[in-house]
């Protein structure tokens, strides 16, 4: 049972990797960005766990900044992904402009909230 599971998992990882290799470079860059943002958020949460959450608004704005960045990047990725048929009409430039605007709002709020 465990053996078959392990072989399945290996096959799965292999096929995942091969499938992911086919994604265009710009999407891979976005993915990297998302992973980086999430990692930063996790580090902050870990730091909060060790040190404590005293300036709670600082912690909140830090984590939500990372999460927000990641979420917005995922949205951008969804929009510029050629395989998504729903967003065929949306030019990538427009998607990027929306992304920048949304980030601007997000970080204005974060700066306001930082305390």
């Amino acid at each position: 049972m465990t053996k078959s599971n392990a072989s399945d998992a290996q096959a799965l990882i292999r096929s995942l990797r091969s499938a992911y290799a086919a994604t265009p470079t710009n999407l891979k860059i976005i993915d990297l960005y998302v992973v980086f943002a999430i990692a930063t958020a996790i580090i902050q949460v870990g730091y909060m766990g060790i040190v404590g959450s005293f300036p709670f608004n600082s912690f909140l704005s830090g984590v939500l900044s990372c999460v927000g960045t990641a979420v917005l990047a995922v949205c951008l990725r969804i929009q510029v992904n050629k395989e998504n048929k729903e967003f065929k009409d949306l030019p990538p430039e427009r998607a990027f402009a929306d992304f920048v605007l949304c980030n601007l709002v997000l970080h204005l709020v974060i700066m306001n909230f930082l305390g």
């Binding site: 599971n5 399945d8 998992a9 096959a11 799965l12 096929s15 995942l16 499938a19 992911y20 086919a22 994604t23 709670f56 608004n57 909140l60 704005s61 939500l64 999460v67 927000g68 979420v71 917005l72 995922v74 949205c75 951008l76 969804i78 929009q79 395989e83 998504n84 729903e86 967003f87 949306l90 998607a95 402009a97 929306d98 992304f99 605007l101 949304c102 709002v105 997000l106 709020v109 974060i110 306001n112 909230f113």
Partner: protein, 781 residues
């Protein structure tokens, strides 16, 4: 080629014409929404209404005078004496900032309006905005026609009028606009998948959070809809774009509002959104992986992930539940709890239950407030299912939840009203669509071949018969609908349209000409009935400012302006720093109109303080005097309607004072004030009742008016007619005795009962003191 371009040109011309026409209709709807709310100004005067608006008005005055920074830091020492209140941190600033900026803008354009004028007209302006927002929202759901109908319906729905007549300067006035607009932007994002609209949506949500505590409705409804979409297999990338940025941005923006602050991440009202936020990410990941993997590998992945995933989910859930359970109220605020459990407030929080707008509504109030819409809503729901889109499923969810909430609190009828308008707008527009189409298709034939193209007609008749049969079947199988005649008829009409939809592709179905003409006529009559009712409601039922009262009697119109008379007296005849005690209902008005410090007001944040005043009102004179004296009170204000028959006076509210007071100070017991469970003030009333301060202050010298002391509200003669006051003296009673102001007598130097000033003392106070000895221990002595 030329012909085709010509028809195309004609089509665009028609479209442009339709656009212009639609624009003008919207303009007229806005004008209608604005002007139907002016009855109060025309019939009474341009004045702020009721209680809460006076506070908002006062805050706006402060804002325009001192600027935004002082506003945020405003510590108000004129209420909740001696505690004071941090206004900047405890008020929803949306309304105040809106009116303040309108005033500022107008003044900078050299249009010198007073702050009061701006405040009075804020609500009508925003109801026009709300009807436009309704148009946009309904357009996203079902197209332009439904949008225009819904906007017209919302412009005059009585439920909304009741909160937004000119002068009703309350949070709800702008909040309903914000609510609808947020929903519009959400559906727009859902339909387009544009991040731009998602940003706007978050900002609009921010405005809603600024304006009203009802924002929790949005932050719970939208996750519910997302969850619904996911469960029913309607997940799409657009859903992700509509929801995920909203949660992050919305949470951040909400915590910027001082009154919400960290509550945006700490209280259970918001946890649903975070939970769904996690779920949608999991689902998005699953869909993504499903997209890039082959089906066989995906199955493997699922089996792998499910085993690990369940364990992780359980752990997360356990942590969450532990977190929530560790807080005493399970993280829910009292008002939210009373929403989920309608009996909660009456059991635990009398202060919430005592407000009449927090009571459950009666059935007639549904008819009064949304009128014929109540019958059209089921039809609209049916229309929303054909075909079911993301946006229309959202509307269905919205109406269902808001129907529940309106059943819990009268006040939330306001949230139901837009949903009912949109549903009815959809229903009406679909019905008109079918009827006019059948007329349009049949009219030419009628002119062309009057002898009758028999075969077509018969074929149509057949189809219609089938339609009708199906319709009756359907209406029979849906017994849960109310068996109102109108309703059933509407239902049938709508079901006909619904059945037509799937068949339309095959053959454009039409109803018989006569039937559709009659149906249109009936619909128009229904609409006319609605309009008449709305205008009546706006003119008669909801326009009274409640500080100026009128009554019609056989000898003409009477105006009772006693409240302002009393507040003006206070303003002109008392010292600036004098403290005035009254029941909390009149706190806002006293600070705003009389500019005097009050002990408690309508912002009922400190139950103990209110209970103290309630205890004083329910005690006999001496302990009451001691309580008031310990609070530095100089004047006591009571509202008394017995002379003119004004029912919402202090005697009618008195039991709540007893309950709230007794909730904190157990020596006040409700049964002491009731004779056999009945609340009465006539000769059979209990001695506790007849000797309490509220009774005495209300009925002091009342017998001098007609010799019998007949109370016209309670319709009975009062129990104790001749008595003197020992610790209070009457200083002012308004023209119709509606407001009576008493002054606390100064503490005496000599032995009580021998004072020269109160010649009556010697007679009543010994008995008073004797009775007082029997009372239970009072913490104030």
């Amino acid at each position: 080629m030329a012909a085709s371009s010509e028809t195309k040109g004609e089509g665009t011309l028609r479209k442009a014409f339709g656009g212009v026409l639609g624009f003008f209709i919207l303009l007229l709807i806005g004008a209608l929404a604005f002007s139907i709310r002016l009855f109060s100004v025309i019939k009474y005067e341009s004045v702020i209404h009721e209680f809460d608006p006076y506070f908002n008005y006062r805050v706006t005055q402060f804002l325009t005078k001192n600027g935004i920074y002082d506003f945020w830091n405003w510590f108000d020492d004129r209420t909740w004496y001696p505690l004071g209140r941090v206004i900047g941190g405890t008020v929803y600033p949306g309304l105040t900032l809106t009116a303040g900026s309108i005033w500022w803008l107008l003044n900078n354009l050299n249009i010198p309006l007073s702050v009061e004028t701006v405040c009075v007209f804020t609500a009508p302006i925003f109801s026009a905005n709300a009807s436009w927002a309704t148009y946009l929202l309904t357009k996203e759901v079902k197209g332009t026609g439904a949008g225009l109908t819904a906007a017209a319906l919302l412009a005059m729905v009585p439920s909304y009028i009741s909160r937004s007549v000119a002068g009703s300067y309350d949070n709800e006035a702008v909040a309903i606009f914000a609510l609808i607009f947020t929903f519009y932007l959400y559906t727009k994002t859902l339909n387009t998948g544009s991040l731009f609209y998602a940003t706007l949506n978050a900002l609009s949500y921010f405005y809603m959070v600024c304006s009203w505590g009802g924002y929790t409705f949005i932050i719970n409804l939208i996750p519910m809809h997302v969850l619904l979409c996911i469960v029913t297999g309607r997940y799409s990338p657009r859903l992700y774009i509509a929801y995920a940025p909203l949660v992050v941005l919305g949470t951040l923006l909400a915590s910027l509002v001082p009154v919400v602050g960290f509550n945006a991440v700490m209280t259970s009202e918001h946890f649903a959104s975070f939970l769904v936020f996690i779920i949608i990410h999991v689902v998005a990941l699953v869909y993504y992986i499903k997209g890039i993997l082959s089906p066989k590998m995906f199955k493997v992945a699922v089996t792998l992930v499910v085993t690990i995933g369940i364990a992780v989910c359980c752990a997360v859930l356990a942590i969450l539940i532990a977190l929530v359970a560790s807080s005493p109220t399970k993280g829910w605020s009292g008002r939210s709890l009373s929403l989920l459990d309608p009996t909660y407030a009456s059991k635990y929080i009398p202060i919430i239950a005592s407000v009449s707008e927090h009571q459950p509504p009666t059935w007639p109030s549904y008819f009064m407030d949304i009128n014929v819409l109540a019958f059209l809503v089921p039809a609209g729901i049916v229309a929303c299912f054909l075909p079911l889109s993301d946006a229309s499923s959202f509307m269905v969810l919205y109406i269902t939840t808001s129907v529940y909430f309106s059943g819990v609190m009268v006040r939330l009828m306001l949230v139901l009203a837009p949903a009912a308008c949109i549903m009815s707008g959809i229903a009406l527009s679909e019905a008109f669509d079918v009827f006019t189409r059948s007329i349009k298709l049949q009219l030419p034939k009628l002119f062309e071949s009057p002898p009758g193209s028999g075969d077509i007609d018969s074929a149509q008749d057949e189809v219609v018969k089938v339609d009708n049969k199906a319709a009756t079947d359907k209406s029979e199988t849906a017994p849960k609908e109310r068996p109102s005649k109108k309703n059933r008829k509407k239902e049938k009409e709508i079901v006909e349209t619904t059945i037509k939809r799937p068949l339309k592709a095959k053959r454009l179905l039409v109803l018989p000409l006569e039937a559709s003409a009659v149906a249109i006529l009936l619909l128009i009559i229904l609409g006319a009935f609605y309009v008449v009712h709305c205008v009546w409601a706006a003119a008669e039922a909801y326009s009274a400012p409640s500080i100026v009262l009128t009554s019609h009697s056989h000898d003409g119109l009477h105006v009772f302006d006693d409240f302002r008379e009393a507040y003006a007296w206070l303003r002109h005849n008392t010292d600036v720093d004098d403290k005035v005690a009254s029941w909390w209902d009149y706190g806002y008005q006293t600070t705003a109109m009389a500019n005097r410090t009050v002990i408690v007001d309508n912002n009922t944040w400190n139950n103990t303080h209110i209970a103290t005043v309630g205890t004083a009102m329910s005690s006999t004179e001496k302990p009451a005097w001691e309580i008031f004296n310990s609070l530095d009170v100089k004047y006591v204000l009571v509202v008394f309607g017995g002379l003119v028959g004004y029912p919402s006076d202090d005697i009618n509210k008195f039991l709540w004072m007893v309950r709230i007071g007794g909730g904190v100070f157990p020596h006040i017991r409700e049964p002491d004030y009731l004779r056999d469970g009945q609340y009465r003030i006539d000769a059979q009333a209990t001695p506790t009742m007849l000797n309490c301060l509220m009774y005495k202050l209300s009925y002091y010298r009342f017998v001098e008016t007609d010799g019998k002391g007949f109370d016209r509200v309670r319709r009975t003669e009062i129990g104790k007619k001749h008595f003197k006051l020992t610790h209070f003296e009457e200083v002012f009673t308004t023209h119709h005795w509606m407001v009576r102001i008493y002054k606390l007598k100064p503490p005496k130097n000599r032995i009580r009962g021998k004072s020269k000033k109160s010649k009556s003392n010697s007679k009543t106070s010994p008995s008073n003191l004797k009775r007082h000895g029997n009372l239970k221990k009072n913490p104030w002595q």
